[in-house]
């Protein structure tokens, strides 16, 4: 099962005109509802905005450090339909929409490099 499988099709790259967090980019609007809705709600209450921003940055920093500590570690991804795959974590994109991994063990073989869509992932686990 350890024979590497050749890449069948390269994934389409990101739109070069958008910048990840740009709330007007079609990619962001289609996939990331969270931040837009929250900002709209807090605009009605200007006092809450600094508190919300502080909470947001604390949470995000913590999460980014968690992603950092995950690099080059073996991670088990739980996908839909109870599919479990293991891979070595490489990086995440800024919107947490895709994970770049190496040595992805799939039921049909080992992919040397792969991009996993986060919508396909239910959860993932690793040892700290």
């Amino acid at each position: 099962m350890a024979t590497p499988v050749s890449v069948l099709r390269l994934p389409k790259g990101p739109d070069p005109n958008c910048r990840g967090f740009d709330p007007n980019s079609p990619r962001f609007i289609a996939l990331c509802r969270t931040s837009i809705v929250t900002s709209a709600a807090s605009e009605t209450d200007a006092e809450q905005l600094p508190k919300e921003q502080h909470a947001r940055s604390v949470l995000r920093e913590s999460f980014l450090r968690c992603l950092l500590s995950m690099t080059n570690k073996k991670v088990r991804f739980h996908l839909h339909e109870r599919v479990k795959v293991e891979a070595t974590f490489g990086a995440s994109d800024i919107d947490v929409l895709n994970f770049q991994v190496s040595d992805l063990h799939t039921p049909i073989g080992v992919q040397k490099e792969a991009l996993i869509r986060c919508q396909d992932v239910i959860s993932f686990t690793f040892e700290a």
Binding site: L59, R60, F63, R65, D95, Q119, S123, A128
Partner: protein, 180 residues
């Protein structure tokens, strides 16, 4: 089935941090653990479970898959401390004040030797009014909005560490006496 979890917002999410939670996600799958953080961009929950032999097992549940989040209990002080420090090595490890003072003095002396204006402001070092160095005064602890100065100071401090790795007693504490 989409629940309201991704729509709660940072102010509500942060209230779940440092609590033991049970998360229902996917097909009747439940995960328990201490909540370390929630990613504000994807609403993903980071759950930590400590292992008996030390170390921790971390599970991240993607925000879009969350069906229900239930709080089981709050963390006591010891667990909170463990959550903040033992898991993420990039956070500051606490050093005792004497050690920090020596290191601060060492870094300050080195910068002054290199003709860089530096002032002590409490526990921090303020460099040229635009860069701040917090404990333990390593290259990763420099903060500035000026990328060029940040780069230069980081490289300078890097050479202090290589010069005197584990011995703060022989630090430039003794140097100011010889240079002045």
């Amino acid at each position: 089935m989409q629940c309201d979890w991704p729509l709660l917002g940072p102010l509500k999410w942060i209230r779940y941090v440092n609590k033991q939670v049970k998360v229902k996600a996917g097909k009747d799958e439940e995960r328990c653990g201490w909540l370390l953080t929630v990613d504000p961009v994807s609403a993903s929950l980071v759950l930590v479970n400590f292992k008996e032999e030390g170390g921790a097992s971390v599970q991240v549940v993607m925000g879009h898959a969350v069906e229900e989040v239930e709080v089981l209990r709050e963390a006591d002080d010891e667990t909170t401390e463990r959550l903040q420090t033992s898991f993420l090595p990039s956070k500051t490890r606490r050093l005792d004040p004497e050690e920090l003072r020596k290191r601060r003095g060492g870094v300050r002396g080195w910068l002054e030797k290199n003709r860089i204006p530096v002032e002590e402001e409490g526990d921090e070092l303020r460099v040229a009014g635009v860069l701040t160095i917090t404990a333990p005064y390593g290259p990763e602890d420099c903060c500035s909005s000026n990328q060029i100065i940040l780069d230069r100071i980081q490289k300078l401090i890097q050479s202090v560490i290589q010069f005197q790795p584990d011995n703060p007693e022989t630090d430039p504490e003794s140097d100011p006496a010889t240079t002045r």
